[in-house]
C-alpha cells in the first residue's frame, strides 16, 4: 500500500511537470474559448454592420412586373419606378443610380434581378436585403397571420411524450447516463497516449530491472493506471468546468438553448448501469494499453498498435444512428457484445434507453472477464516482457515461462 501511494504520487507529479500534458490539457479549452470568442465577436459586428446598413440610403430604380409591390413602400425608399429593364441596368452601369431591382412577372420561376454599384463584399448585400424586404413588406398585409408564419417557417411545435403513464422527455433522460459516454470518450482520448508512454518509460529508460527488484509489477501497473485516471479526470475538469461556467454565463449571448440542470430527471438504474459499464470498459482498455506498452520495445512501435485500438473503440461512433434507430439489428448486437467495440454502443444505448436487460446481463460479464484477463496478462507481460529492449514479445514466450 505504501509503495502504491508512492508510485501514484511519483507518476502524477512527473506527468504534471511535463509540458506536453499542459499543452494537451489547456490547448483544447483555450481553442474552444478562442472559437467562441470569434463567433461571438463576429456575430456582434455582423449585427452592428447590418444595423448600420439599414440606415444607409442609396438611390434605387425598380421595375415591377409582379404587380405585388406597394407604391407606398417604394415612396418611403424614394425609389423611382421605371418600365425598361435595360435602361435600369444601363443606369447602374453608368453610375447614374446606385441600384436597380427587377421583379419578373413570375417570381416562382424566375429570380428577382438586383444590380448595384460595388460597395464591398459585405455591403453589397444591402441591395439583396432591400429587394427581399420590399417584396415581403408588400405582401405581408395581404395574407392571414397564420399563413404568414407557416410560409416564413415561424410556426413551432412542442412535443410532450409519456411512458408508463408519466411525462417522459427522452432527451433530458439521456443527459445524466450519457455523461458516462462523454467521460469514457474523454478519458480514453486524453489518457491513451499518456498511459502507453508511462508504461513504456521504464523500458526505454532501462530502469526496469531496478524497479522489478524493488516493487511488485502488479503494484507498479495499478499505480500507473490509478495515476493516469486521476490525471485524465483532472484534465477533464480543466475542460468541463470552464465550459460549464461559460455555458451558464453566456448561453444567451452564444444563442445556445438553456437547459435547467437542476430539473434533469435522475434515472438511478440507468445511471448505475452507465457507471458500471464505464468503469469496466475503462479498466479493459487501460489493461490493453499496458499490454501494448509492455509488449513492444519503443513508444513509436506502441503508437502503431494504439491506432488499431482507437479504431476499435471509436469506430462504433460511425454507427450512432443505427444504435438509436435499429437496436435489435445483428450488427448492433455484435458490436455491443464484442469487448473491443462494446463500450460506446453499451454506454450510448443505455443513455438512449434501448439497451435490453438481457443484453446488459450478457455484455457486462464478458467485459468484466475480458478486463480481468487483459489486466492479468498485462501485468505478466510487464513482468516478463519488460526486459526485451529491442524486440516485441510473443504471447507464446510469455505463457511459455513457468
Amino acid at each position: 500500500m505504501h509503495n502504491l501511494s508512492t508510485v501514484i504520487r511519483f507518476e502524477i507529479v512527473r506527468t504534471l511537470k511535463k509540458k506536453s500534458y499542459w499543452i494537451m490539457a489547456l490547448g483544447f479549452p483555450v481553442m474552444m474559448v478562442a472559437i467562441f470568442a470569434i463567433i461571438y465577436f463576429s456575430n456582434q459586428s455582423t449585427n452592428q454592420a447590418a444595423e448600420e446598413l439599414q440606415h444607409q440610403s442609396f438611390s434605387i430604380e425598380v421595375t415591377d412586373e409582379t404587380h405585388l409591390i406597394k407604391p407606398s413602400i417604394l415612396d418611403a425608399l424614394k425609389a423611382k419606378t421605371i418600365t425598361d429593364k435595360q435602361q435600369g441596368i444601363k443606369d447602374v452601369a453608368s453610375g447614374k443610380v446606385d441600384s436597380y431591382i427587377y421583379y419578373p412577372s413570375d417570381i416562382s420561376k424566375h429570380p428577382v434581378e438586383v444590380y448595384g454599384q460595388d460597395v464591398g463584399i459585405f455591403n453589397n448585400s444591402r441591395y439583396d436585403a432591400v429587394a427581399s424586404m420590399v417584396l415581403k413588406e408588400s405582401i405581408q398585409n395581404s395574407v392571414d397571420v397564420n399563413v404568414r408564419s407557416v410560409i416564413s417557417n415561424q410556426a413551432s411545435t412542442n412535443v410532450t411524450t409519456y411512458r408508463d403513464g408519466e411525462e417522459y422527455d427522452p432527451v433530458k433522460q439521456m443527459i445524466l447516463p450519457g455523461l458516462f459516454l462523454v467521460l469514457f470518450y474523454m478519458l480514453i482520448a486524453f489518457s491513451a497516449n499518456q498511459m502507453l508512454t508511462s508504461t513504456i518509460e521504464e523500458k526505454e529508460n532501462r530502469v526496469i530491472e531496478m524497479i522489478l527488484t524493488t516493487i511488485e509489477a502488479r503494484t507498479l501497473v495499478i499505480g500507473k493506471i490509478v495515476s493516469q485516471v486521476a490525471l485524465s479526470l483532472f484534465q477533464g475538469c480543466i475542460i468541463v468546468l470552464p465550459a460549464l461556467a461559460g455555458y451558464l454565463l453566456f448561453h444567451d449571448k452564444l444563442n445556445l438553448p438553456f437547459i435547467d440542470l437542476t430539473a434533469l430527471p435522475v434515472d438511478i438504474p440507468r445511471i448505475l448501469t452507465g457507471a458500471l459499464v464505464f468503469v469496466v470498459s475503462f479498466l479493459f482498455f487501460t489493461g490493453v494499453l499496458v499490454l501494448i506498452g509492455s509488449s513492444v520495445p519503443t513508444a513509436k512501435e506502441a503508437s502503431q498498435f494504439l491506432g488499431v485500438v482507437m479504431i476499435a473503440i471509436f469506430g462504433p461512433l460511425y454507427a450512432v444512428t443505427l444504435f438509436i434507430s435499429a437496436p435489435d439489428a445483428p450488427l448492433v448486437r455484435f458490436l455491443s457484445l464484442f469487448p473491443f467495440t462494446a463500450p460506446i454502443p453499451l454506454l450510448l444505448r443505455n443513455a438512449v434507453g434501448n439497451l435490453h436487460p438481457w443484453e446488459l446481463a450478457v455484455a457486462l460479464p464478458i467485459l468484466v472477464v475480458s478486463a480481468a484477463v487483459v489486466l492479468m496478462l498485462a501485468v505478466r507481460v510487464f513482468r516478463y516482457g519488460a526486459l526485451e529492449y529491442s524486440r516485441k514479445v510473443s504471447l507464446r514466450e510469455i505463457f511459455g515461462r513457468r
Binding site: T6, V7, F10, E209, M210, E216, Y384, R402
Partner: protein, 244 residues
C-alpha cells in the same frame, strides 16, 4: 555461517537453447563473493533468475532459504548490468522515489540521498535532470540508489563498468564500507585485481557451467596459477580462437 544465497541445479533455457546447465553454489552471509565469467557465460542470467526477473527452467534459487520477493525477506541492493534511470527526473527526485520504494520515509530518503551526493561530489547536481549528467555521474547516482538503505545483500553486476580509476577507487571504498558493516556483497566483474583484494569466495562460469568454485587461493591452486588473471586467461583465453 549460514547461506544467504543458495542455488541448486539451476537450469535456464531460452527457446530451444539451454544457457545454464545445472549450476550449484552458495554464498555465505557476510562474505564477499566474486561471480566471474566471460561475456555470455550466464552470470547476468543467473542473477536475474535469482531475483525473480527470469523464471528458471529448473532448479532452486533461494535468498535466505526462499525465492526472492520484493515484499519480504532480504533487504537487497541491486545494481544491474543494464544501466538506466528515469532520465527526465531530477537526481534528487529519482533517488527519493527509489528510497521510498525501498521502504524509507520521504525525509529519510532525502537525507540519505543528499549525504550520498555530498560524498561523491555531486551535491550541486541534486536538482539537475539525470539526462544532463555524464554517463559516469549517472552511474554514481545508480550506485547511490543501490546502497542508500544500507542493504544486507549487495549484488553488483559489473559495478566498475564505465568508471574512471578515481571513481573506481571510490566505488571500492564504498563496497569495503558495506563489507565492514556486515553486508554480503556479490560482485559480477572482470576486474581480477579487485576480486583478489575483496572476495572471499569466487565462482568461474563458462557456457553456463561452473569451472571453479572456492576461495581465491583454492581456485588459483586448482589451476596452478599465481594470479586470477592467469586463471581467467587459461579458462577463457581460447574462446576467441574457438569462435573463429
Amino acid at each position: 555461517m549460514e547461506n544467504i544465497i543458495t542455488i541448486k541445479d539451476f537450469k535456464m533455457r531460452f527457446g530451444t537453447t539451454e544457457v545454464i546447465h545445472g549450476l550449484t553454489f552458495s554464498v555465505k552471509r557476510g562474505e564477499t563473493f566474486g561471480f566471474l565469467g566471460s561475456n555470455g557465460s550466464g552470470k547476468t542470467t543467473t542473477i536475474r533468475a535469482l531475483l525473480g526477473i527470469y523464471q528458471p527452467t529448473g532448479g532452486e534459487l533461494l535468498l535466505d532459504g526462499k525465492p526472492y520477493s520484493v515484499s519480504g525477506g532480504v533487504k537487497l541492493g541491486y545494481l544491474p548490468e543494464e544501466r538506466g534511470l528515469y532520465k527526465k527526473e531530477s537526481v534528487i527526485d529519482a533517488m527519493v522515489y527509489f528510497g521510498e520504494l525501498k521502504g524509507m520515509s520521504r525525509d529519510e530518503a532525502k537525507e540519505a540521498s543528499l549525504a550520498y551526493l555530498s560524498r561523491v561530489n555531486l551535491s550541486d547536481k541534486a536538482n539537475t535532470r539525470l539526462d544532463k549528467l555524464s554517463g559516469g555521474q549517472q552511474q554514481k547516482i545508480q550506485l547511490g540508489i543501490t546502497i542508500m538503505d544500507n542493504p544486507e545483500l549487495l549484488i553488483l553486476d559489473e559495478p566498475t563498468k564505465g568508471f574512471d580509476p578515481v571513481n573506481r577507487k571510490l566505488l571500492m571504498d564504498i563496497i569495503e564500507e558495506h563489507q565492514a558493516k556486515g553486508a554480503t556483497v556479490v560482485m559480477v566483474t572482470h576486474q581480477m585485481d579487485e576480486v583478489e583484494r575483496l572476495c572471499d569466495h569466487i565462482i568461474l562460469l563458462k557456457d553456463g557451467v561452473s569451472h571453479a568454485y572456492g576461495t581465491v587461493d583454492e581456485v588459483k591452486k586448482k589451476f596452478n596459477k599465481k594470479s586470477l588473471d592467469e586463471v581467467f586467461l587459461q579458462v577463457y583465453g581460447n574462446e576467441n580462437e574457438e569462435t573463429k
